[in-house]
Amino acid sequence: MDVEEYIASGILELYVAGALPPEENLEVQHYAIQYPKIRKEIEAIERAILELTEAASPKMPQDGFAKVKAEINDVIPFTPQTTSSKATPWRSYLGWAASVLLAIGLFWMYTENSKLKSEIELTNQEKQSLEDVLSNTQEEITLKENLLQQLRDKNVTVIALGGQTVSPSSYAKAYWNKEENKVIIDGQGLPEPPDGFTYQVWSLKLDPLTPTSIGLLDDFASQDTKLFTLENANDSEAFGITLEPEGGSETPTLEQLYTLGAVGS
């Protein structure tokens, strides 16, 4: 680039006037950094304009700046740092640091709060399940008391049913309330029936031997107490329990007679 020619073009005068379009302005700016001669010429042109404008001035009053200062202090109340500019970063960093700390603190409190909330939730659930257990237990107690009541009834006859050939170690008991026509079978001494089979309880007349089904011990495995209440309106002389295919049989399979006991007088 021919610096002399560039200077002679008059573009620098227009640059100082601020009359150039942006792209030409940028170009001059660029060359001013690159060529010291151009920068010096710009400064010389500026001096001429400074001279010219100063000559046109009606001369500012001596206290001119005091008035400006009074006004800018009104306009900008938050400018206490007229001191060294080096103090500024420290203060602004402090502000940022404080807000970062605050943000971290808020986040921490938020997570702590969430944690506590879920802990409370958990505790409530535990409490609920304990209450459920308690009420189940109470229900069970009531149930068992009822049962005990029934077994102790003065009208109840207890019949021990002893193990038979197919399962000598088995035993069972029948609590027969003749007034209410109810038999409670305690099957605790019976083994769990194999899949597809169920125990069937028979009321027996002995002479001649006449068995009458009074019911099945259904869901034997899942019955915790192994106590089963059945209807019995018969004038029974003995009770027997046989293993039968699921659903029960019309007549007892005597080879699968587990327990048997006669009603005492």
Binding site: I11, L14, P21, M60, V68, I76
Partner: protein, 175 residues
């Protein structure tokens, strides 16, 4: 103190730096305003307002876009032109007078004796009227080169070489 540093501190709202800049440029800014407004007292007032404005806008100055003085000059002439326009509106005149600097040069039009009319005249000595008119448009009224070219019905290249020769003339008069 280097001018760049001074400007930087001023942009960080350092009032001491600002006062230094005020002392450097107040007369120039007031002079530029006075060429347009042609009323010493009013020019002084506007000049104070302009410096308040400069303080408020300090962060808008971008050194990569031009000279600091050019930036100041631009704010000053906008304020001066606003003043004349609002007055002209009151007087039902539409346009700015085209010959501000010419008038001052030829007639010493500003009545305030404080102005350095002799200094001004010696600076502008030997300049052709079309030179003074062009200086007036470009430096005091803020015409862009395109607007000046259109107004004077002259190619932009000619505007450039003409203003070069006009300012060179002033620089000779300064020596």
């Amino acid at each position: 103190m280097n001018l760049d540093n001074l400007i930087q501190q001023f942009q960080q709202k350092d009032t001491v730096a600002f006062e230094t800049l005020y002392n450097m440029y107040a007369e120039n800014i007031c002079g530029a305003i006075n060429v347009i407004v042609k009323d010493s007292e009013r020019s002084q007032e506007i000049c104070q307002d302009v410096f308040v404005k400069i303080w408020e806008k300090s962060n808008q100055y971008d050194a990569s876009k031009g000279r600091f003085f050019t930036w100041l000059l631009n704010i000053a002439r906008n304020a001066a032109i606003d003043e004349v326009r609002s007055k002209a509106h009151k007087n039902k005149k539409k346009n700015l007078p085209v010959d501000s600097l010419v008038g001052i040069y030829e007639n010493g039009e500003d009545l305030n004796s404080k102005m350095d009319t002799i200094g001004l005249q010696s600076l502008l000595k030997g300049l052709k009227e079309k030179c003074i008119l062009l200086i007036d448009m470009l430096y005091f009224k803020g015409y862009t080169q395109k607007e000046a070219a259109k107004e004077l019905n002259t190619p932009i290249g000619t505007i450039k070489t003409r203003i070069r020769s006009c300012i060179s003339n002033i620089r000779k008069n300064m020596a």
